[in-house]
Subunit: 115 residues, 2 copies
């Protein structure tokens, strides 16, 4: 399996090495495989997963949310609450979109007023 060094992983995901280690400590990614010498070796799957985490972070989900999300999506988890949890998260994101729309409406009004 072809793997990649920490600095390359950082370059390719846009996430700093420190943050990658932080995410791993927090259980959001990995655990990442190690070389005989103890260095991390990121697989393509790892990079993909980091992309998912980044996507959710950019959407404003907190570390604790993501930890729960990860735990739920890891294959070994009993699937019972999965869909409910996912729907709940989706609804929360919709709330955030609504808040953004309200703010944008205010801005539009001000823009119209000053134009």
């Amino acid at each position: 399996m072809t793997t990649v060094t920490p600095s390359t992983a950082a370059d390719r995901t846009g996430v700093s090495i420190d943050t990658l280690r932080y995410y791993e400590r927090e259980g959001l990614i990995g655990p990442i495989r190690r070389s005989p010498g103890g260095r991390r070796e990121y697989t393509e799957e790892d990079l993909f997963w980091i992309g998912l985490v980044t996507c959710f972070r950019e959407a404003g989900l907190g570390i604790a949310d993501l930890r729960e999300f990860v735990a739920l999506l890891r294959a070994d988890h009993p699937p019972q609450n999965r869909v409910a949890f996912l729907r709940e998260r989706r609804a929360a994101l919709e709330q955030r979109v609504a808040a953004l729309r309200r703010a944008m409406d205010v801005l539009d009004e001000k823009i119209a007023y000053y134009s």
Copy 2:
């Protein structure tokens, strides 16, 4: 002019008294008028403005952004950059909406997969 005590202002805006004072210190609201004894007296305009600030905070704008926003909207400001600034903020909010949509798409995919 009818005014309102700090605790009433907090109740009506949903913002804690401490946070109201914090916002005032940071220049996001007020300065709030004082009674002879030194207590704050919030006018209806103050409450309305607090609502605006809250709206933007909920949309994820930072304190520094809001300070700039407030400075720009306060009547005495030269109007030259106003509209540009507002449009810029609007674009930033649109970016955030886009990030949320990406995350929601991922969730939808997972929901479909597990349903």
